[in-house]
């Protein structure tokens, strides 16, 4: 009897916890939407805040440069290896460039880059803004009639909205190079052939849809991260929670919104 009662208690706690977490994530997505609208309103002050925006871009770039480079290179290499394996029986290895560039530009580059920037930049934003919230700095801004969204969030959102597409272009480039290396050393495809096939499948639509995705991801990730930070309470514990929630929500939203953007441009009606 006692065991059953205990089990019931555990079950109730677990289900309650999951429910609470889900409600919190949904609530925060709603709040993020409101913050986004406010950012859009304050973006008219973007020029005035250009120094802060550039500073944020610089930090985002420097902090992620090495990781993005390694991940991009290896993504290209892995893709080349796996695709090469499938193409080899048909003696079609030279097509590896076409598939790699199509995969990278359409899906992989924006997605992979967004994941890295969520982990490295979004989490920092949530922690920074969250620390300011729990140490009353946000309250202090409100008291001086300085909008925290205009002062903190807007420059971060614009910087990531610009930085993510730039990083995505870089990922495309380095991923292709990684693929080329494998193509040359493992699949006996010369650089010239690989390069010409890359150009063959480097479509304008794929590129701009990919970059549009990166741009939207950049806005989403920074907005969600800052919104979670603004709502942080209860000291250091709260900052940790805000950071974790921002990473989880950003990740989910990148997947879901990424799917729908693909659907709009490549689905039946597209």
């Amino acid at each position: 009897m006692i065991i059953i009662k205990k089990l019931k208690d555990v079950l109730v706690t677990v289900i309650g916890g999951i429910g609470k977490n889900t409600i919190n994530i949904v609530y925060m997505l709603g709040y993020s939407t409101l913050i986004f609208l406010e950012v859009a309103y304050h973006s008219k002050a973007a020029f005035e805040k250009r120094r802060e925006i550039l500073k944020q871009m610089y930090y985002a770039g420097v902090k992620t440069f090495i990781v993005v480079s390694i991940v991009a290179l290896f993504t290209g290499m892995i893709l080349a290896l796996q695709i090469g394996l499938e193409l080899k029986p048909y003696q079609q290895q030279s097509l590896v460039g076409n598939i790699i560039i199509a995969t990278l530009t359409r899906e992989m580059a924006p997605f992979v880059t967004a994941i890295i920037l969520i982990a490295a930049v979004g989490s920092t934003m949530a922690a920074e803004v969250g620390t300011m919230a729990v140490s009353e700095e946000i309250d202090a801004l409100e008291m001086m009639a300085i909008s925290p969204v205009r002062f903190l969030v807007m420059p971060r959102v614009i910087s990531l909205a610009l930085m993510l597409p730039i990083a995505t272009v870089y990922t495309n480039l380095l991923g292709s190079i990684g693929g080329g290396i494998i193509a040359y050393f493992q699949l006996n495809v010369s650089f010239d052939v690989y390069y010409s096939h890359i150009l063959e499948s480097l479509h304008f639509k794929a590129t701009y849809v990919g970059l549009l995705k990166a741009f939207i991801f950049g806005i989403m990730v920074s907005t969600i991260s800052c919104a979670n930070g603004l709502r942080a309470t209860n000291g250091a514990l709260g900052v940790g929670k805000a950071t974790r929630n921002s990473v989880v929500s950003s990740f989910l939203m990148v997947l879901i919104v990424g799917y729908y953007i693909t659907g709009i441009f490549y689905g039946k009606t597209g």
Binding site: M132, S135, E137, D139, A140, M143, I146
Partner: protein
Amino acid sequence: MIEFKNVTKILNGTKVLDNLSLRIERGETFVIIGRSGTGKTVTLKHIAGLLEPESGVVLVDGQQMNGSSKRQKDNLREKIGFVFQSGALINWMTVEENIALPLVEHKVLPQDEIKKIVEEKLDLLQLTSARDRMPAEISGGMKKRASLARVLVRNPEIILYDEPTSGLDPVMSSLINTIINQIKKDQHITQVVVTHDMESAYAVGDRIAMLYDGSIIQCDVPEAIRTTANPIVRQFISGSLEGPIEVL
């Protein structure tokens, strides 16, 4: 003038403020004392409009703060300065930049004018040596003074202090008390000081009110508080373990 009318605030399921009524006159320095966790900070944040009560009304100069729009709040806050418990300086800006921040952001004055005002406040609060340091590199007393300087550059009519002397050495506490008394000479500035430092309360207060269980149990001039008959207040100011206050 600041007025609370039957204000109730519930946080985490407990009534932190319970039907609180309170009236602070223009130009007076009003001290609120009370134990840690009784809701002193919560009370100040209601005056500032940073927290919304469950019920009741908070009036600042006759205008309702709670429930008002963001724009109205910004208008009312124009005359309110808040010296936060931990200073709340923006952590990635130097002391000087922090003090200049409200003026720089609102662009009401030319650069050299701002510089002059900041210089004046740095001097007044003896912060000149710390001007280029970051908030993390200065002492608690400096943070509080820098926070006050940031408030003073806006020429507020109401200044709210959240434990301005807690965690400071006696000399620094005296300095803060002196500054508060200096500001008091300006008859138009209303000051609300939250503290559990009785020495500071006696030194600056025109009136002292004790917050207990969500409402004011006594509010009087310092002499009357010193010789109070109320057992709770008496226990609090003497810091005795014996008495009606449950020591948890």
